[in-house]
Symmetry: C2
Subunit: 372 residues, 2 copies
């Protein structure tokens, strides 16, 4: 596949210069650029080092807490409507990263949202939830210092939603979520409860809290920060912080991976053959002909296969940089790169699934003991 856009040669394996796509977010919404903070992070994650985490809100107070070994929290979750995919993999790893840096970690199974938004009954989402929690544990989440719960059973987030209801105008909700049924708005308030629950007395009170989000999820965080400010007097909330990561391109060349479009992504639980086939059929940043590619090099900036390496599956920064330059120089062709990436992905997936099996019983136990 080809592209002929040559307007400027970008030599930037981690796409920091492509941030212009995100510039309007800084200006319009007040997301702050992450890069200036990087050298203050004691032990930056792969996503941070590679500028996948490109923005944040108020992260300084979290970094302060990390540095000074003070109490802080990390919060994220999953809507249990299916298997772990590359998006949920990203937030799960971010949660685990902050947990390893000393955060009390909260991971929410958003079964109320799955019901309100996707009409998945609690009984049905419970089945996905077991797998999702096993995935999380297999990735390294430590349940001893972390709290995993379901929205439908966690009364404290529901209580917060009831309190927050008075502060949520219809205009705000419509602006963020569009014209939806009341249950969808309710689930948004419960999500605000999820983000602020770590600051309740039951969890030792107000503390810096970081919510790793994809850039498309930032509106939820704005709503929650707005509610935290409105109810600060009652709860002494510290406004929650966020890290903001970029969204991976669809494997098929679409702007983002989407469940509606199964060739755009894969889950960690598809067959190796299915995954291999999706990578093999993926759009790339390659040229029309081998000759052109040898002469002019490829466009890793536009390539979802390169993103698989860079965002998720190649741990070693130097190796990613090497791939970038080998593509740019025309040394690495798309077919060869796809084979490499397929091998790396399948190795990860195979290993992950073996690990995950060990955690299924534990996952069931955690969900059964979940607070009601």
């Amino acid at each position: 596949m080809s592209t002929t856009n040559e307007k400027k040669p970008i030599i930037d394996p981690f796409g920091t210069t492509i941030i212009e796509d995100y510039n309007h977010l800084y200006e319009e919404f007040g997301i702050q650029p992450f890069r200036p903070l990087l050298n203050q992070v004691p032990n930056p994650s792969m996503y941070m080092r590679r500028n996948v985490v490109f923005g944040h809100r108020d992260l300084q107070c979290v970094l302060e807490a990390m540095k000074n070994h003070k109490d802080f929290a990390v919060m994220s979750g999953i809507k249990p409507t299916g298997e772990f995919h590359l998006g949920t993999l990203m937030t799960a790893r971010e949660v685990i990263y902050f947990q390893n840096q000393g955060a009390t970690a909260f991971y929410c199974i958003a079964d109320v949202e799955a019901y309100e938004d996707n009409k998945i009954s609690f009984e049905r989402s419970q089945k996905f939830a077991v797998g999702n929690v096993a995935d999380l544990l297999a990735l390294g989440f430590n349940p001893k210092t972390g709290y995993i719960y379901q929205q439908s059973k966690e009364r404290r987030v529901q209580d917060l939603a009831i309190i927050f209801g008075r502060g949520a105008t219809l205009a705000t909700m419509k602006a963020i979520y569009g014209e939806r049924h009341i249950g969808l708005y309710l689930s948004a308030l419960i999500q605000a409860g999820d983000i602020l629950m770590p600051q309740l007395k039951d969890f030792d009170g107000p503390k810096p809290t970081v919510v790793p989000v994809g850039v498309d999820q930032d509106p939820h965080l704005r709503l929650t920060r707005d509610l935290a400010a409105k109810f600060r007097r009652k709860y002494n909330f510290i406004l929650p912080s966020s890290t903001v990561h970029k969204i991976m391109k669809g494997l098929d060349g679409s702007p983002k991976m989407s469940k509606r479009n199964p060739t755009s992504y894969f889950t960690l639980h598809e067959t190796p053959e299915a995954i291999a086939k999706k990578i093999s059929n993926a759009f790339t940043g390659g040229r029309d002909t081998v000759e052109e590619q040898r002469n002019f090099g490829g466009n890793p900036e536009k390539c979802p296969v390169y993103e698989l390496d860079m965002y998720q599956f190649v741990e070693d920064d130097d190796k990613v940089i090497q791939t970038y330059h080998d593509c740019k120089s025309g040394k690495l062709l798309c077919g060869e790169h796809k084979n490499q990436t397929t091998e790396t992905v399948l190795k990860f997936v195979k290993n992950h699934r073996r690990e995950r099996r060990k955690f299924l019983d534990k996952a069931r136990e955690i969900l059964q003991n979940s607070q009601t």
Copy 2:
């Protein structure tokens, strides 16, 4: 005070002919007239006999259950934003009436609604709630066969609200409640939960349920019946029934009693002097002069003092009828009538308050043991 509207002589102590005010409700909203059912009610209440209860929805299934000693429920409640007044007195007595006829009675302290609608914190509404529950018990509610609870602590109604959220469109909510914050809509869903909770397995499953409402509350019931139909497959709900009562005129001549207008009503806990003064200053259906009144008679149909007798404070039907005719004939003048009614009301209030004091501890106990 005077009125000169003479267009037709109405001889109807219980205002059944004045129902034309309510005719559009039958046509427009499907409220059914109560009068045709009266002779099927084994032991009709004062409100029923006097056509204060003028309408209903699907009451037949409740009457069937009453007749055949089958399981049925009655449900109502109070928003704990103040003391018992004449409106809450009416629904409380209706609940107690059905409880005495064999219903399992549910009485809800709508503290979530008090918060969402009136910004009364749960802590503050708790104080009103103790008094409200003591009032209810003093009026004859039997807590052994009835269930009194707070919305904020009753997880089953909150769970129902979450489920119902998916069935509540923004258009419906706006049509009933206007453009409000999300919390107000949430409290409406919780109220639907209140009405349908008696049909959950915890309370022995689906059963006819009657909700005594003032005519202004009918939209809530329509919403709940709509939700009951939408979620019938999941819960096997029987659509809830209602009795619909008329709204008392304001003492000051305004169309209805209103908290915003303190001279329009009194609570059961104002001083005897304050109550006496409000009755003494009340608007009446009297003529401009004594002479006119002796000649033409008064207009009890327009008289809030007559309504005090008829709706609430004179137990004996014959006595009410006598007052009606004595007014109509010009025999009873407004001053004398006001004195009689004041005496009756103050006697009731004094007795009620003495009884209520005995129930304050019990009320506290009930609220403390309320489910969380």
